[in-house]
């Protein structure tokens, strides 16, 4: 029986190995054929003319993620401080399950919400089509809230109570003690939450496709449509063939490398947070 358990334990190792092999084996040749520099830094994506430059998508993914972080992190940070330090005991449990529910809502439902509410709203307020980078930033900002709140709240909770009491005893107000003593002490945990949020935002696909407009060109402004790497794969994979299809898989490889870098920095941060405690 021990052998059976051992084989089951190897499943995750095997899965990661297979994913790496199949993605790289199918994506890297295309990069070679197009030319790695032309592929990564080309600004034109015109599959019909054999032009495969994904720089617009890389830039769009980074912009949209940055926007989501700008919107999501402050709200998440204040909410987690509220949950950890201010929330009355009676309403804590319902609020906590509310955040869990928020994490459980599928991205397609968020996308639908953005499509029927956010996009028309932006169209009315600012003009244009509404399907824009702004819509994607706001929607992703909302979607990463539960992820960041969960990690940040436990980081704030793991700061020893004596820090807070010591600060109060020195005459600081409650707010000064929390924001200038406890939050700096929880720094690496909070940063880990933000990095986790970045990973969620950059990998999000369905919600972004429904609100971002998906035009494959360099991002020009908040109200213009953009296409992220994830959207590029899904919108064109259905009918792509030959080099076009391989270029889409190569886009997936680039995304995968981004995610691996984010994962690596996350585990480094977690190690630092553990050492700090």
């Amino acid at each position: 029986m021990k052998g059976v358990f051992l084989i089951a334990a190897c499943a995750s190792v095997l899965a990661v190995f297979l994913i790496c092999v199949f993605l790289f084996a199918n994506g890297l040749p295309a990069m070679g054929k197009i030319g790695p520099l032309k592929f990564l830094f080309g600004t034109e994506w015109r599959p019909t003319n054999d032009k495969f430059g994904i720089l617009p998508m890389i830039v769009a993914s980074i912009y949209v993620t940055a926007g989501a972080i700008l919107i999501g992190v402050p709200i998440a940070l204040f909410t987690s401080v509220f949950m950890a330090r201010y929330c009355p005991k009676k309403i804590y449990k319902p609020l906590k399950s509310g955040i869990e529910l928020m994490a459980g809502v599928p991205s397609i439902v968020y996308g639908y919400f953005g499509l029927v509410l956010l996009v028309p709203l932006i169209r009315q307020l600012f003009g244009g089509t509404g399907s824009s980078m702004l819509a994607a930033c706001i929607l992703l900002g909302i979607m990463i809230l539960p992820t960041i709140i969960g990690v940040t709240e436990s980081a704030v909770r793991s700061v020893p109570e004596s820090y807070y009491e010591g600060s109060l005893a020195l005459g600081a107000t409650k707010e000064r003690s929390i924001f200038f003593v406890m939050l700096p002490a929880a720094k690496s945990g909070i940063l880990a939450g933000v990095v986790l949020g970045i990973g969620r935002a950059i990998g999000e696909t369905m919600a972004v496709i429904m609100v971002a407009g998906n035009q494959p060109r360099m991002p020009k402004g908040l109200l213009q449509g953009v296409r992220t790497m994830t959207a590029n794969i899904v919108t064109e994979m259905g009918y792509a063939s030959g080099l076009h299809r391989e270029a889409l898989i190569a886009t997936g490889v680039v995304l995968f490398v981004f995610i691996l870098i984010i994962n690596l920095s996350l585990s480094l941060l977690n190690r630092r947070a553990e050492n700090a405690n």
Binding site: F5, A8, A9, C10, A11, S12, V13, A15, V16, I19, F22, L23, I75, L77, F78, T79, V81, F82, M83, C87, L95, G98, I99, E100, M102, G104, V105, P106, I108, V109, Y110, G111, Y112, F113, L115, V116, L117, L145, T173, K174, E175, R176, I178, F179, R200, I202, T205, M206, M210, T230, I233, V234, M237, I249, G252, L255, I259, I262, L266, S267
Partner: protein, 304 residues
């Protein structure tokens, strides 16, 4: 000791002490007037929390209000036609997909957790490798799983777009979740249980299956329920693995769309937006039930 003190103390003196030790809202406001910076921070904290929960309520309320009027019997008819975009076939596909992926993922995940907790040497290189790969898996976005499923199950194994290809892609996706929750559940079973079982002459396997696993069931179940939620809501990983045929296939080797895919296709075609709204309600209902269940199970764990 505590009770003795409060019984002997003068009740009147006790209430004055309590009053002195608790801040009323008025005191708090006065202190904010003295320290405006603190007041601003407190206000922002409250504002952040209100924003988060208002967004959640608004999202759920909006989806329900938009969709419930369009929920009608014809949406649940057995066949899908281009006039009547019934969601029943996708609902059945969702159930099949969830069942097949969990039947595979749950045993593999639980067995892996048993290996990590009961057999493996703590801190050995192999265990570290398993941990790192499981962490990597849980950070991979669903579209990358979708690409892999398409390249491996659909193309390399020649299974075509089918429920089986989709389900196996889901297995890899939920595996780290089940592994981690099962591992925590097994770890929280006290060692005294194992020692008592060994002391009575039971072997290792018997101890695991009759003593350790049954005590860890609630924790494992909570993880499995979360995994169900992931499968029900998944879209990007299934689009190019299970395909988007709107019927219940004859076998697992046939293509079929799940509810979330059904909703994506409807809203991206733009012809049946109302039916997409109704589908959103059904998906949300699933999510609410699943979350409620996992909450119940978690409470059961807390009670012991």
């Amino acid at each position: 000791m505590q009770t003795n003190v409060s019984v002997t103390a003068d009740p009147a003196a006790e209430t004055t002490m309590k009053k002195r030790n608790t801040l009323t809202i008025g005191d708090q406001l006065k202190s904010y007037a003295k320290h405006p910076g603190a007041g601003v921070l407190a206000f922002l904290t409250l504002l952040g929390a209100v924003t988060t929960f208002a967004l959640l309520f608004f999202l759920i309320g909006y989806v329900l209000v938009k969709g419930i009027p369009y929920l009608n019997a014809s949406l649940f008819s057995f066949t899908y036609t281009s006039e009547n975009v019934s969601l029943l076939p996708s609902l059945i596909n969702t159930l099949i997909m969830t069942l097949v992926s969990l039947v595979i993922a749950a045993p593999v995940g639980i067995f892996a957790a048993i290996f990590l907790v009961e057999y493996a040497k703590k801190g050995s290189r192999f265990v570290k490798l398993i941990r790192i790969t499981a962490e990597t898996l849980s950070g991979i976005p669903s579209i990358v799983y979708g690409l892999f499923g398409m390249l491996f199950f659909v193309t390399a194994l020649h299974w075509g777009m089918s429920l089986l290809s989709g389900a196996l892609t889901m297995v890899i996706m939920v595996l780290p979740l089940i592994m981690r929750t099962a591992e925590e559940a097994l770890k929280s079973v006290p060692d005294s249980y194992r020692e008592a079982s060994f002391g009575l002459g039971a072997g290792k396997l018997r101890t695991i299956f009759t003593i350790v696993l049954p005590s860890a069931v609630p924790g494992i179940l909570a993880g499995v329920i979360l995994a169900i939620g992931r499968v029900v809501g998944e879209t990007a990983a299934l689009l190019y693995t299970s395909g988007t045929v709107a019927a219940v296939p004859n076998s697992l080797m046939g293509s079929g769309r799940t509810l979330a895919l059904h909703m994506y296709v409807l809203s991206s075609e733009g012809l049946h937006v109302n039916q997409a709204s109704a589908t959103a309600v059904v998906i949300l209902a699933f999510v609410l039930v699943i979350n409620g269940l996992s909450g119940l199970v978690a409470r059961k764990i807390a009670k012991g």
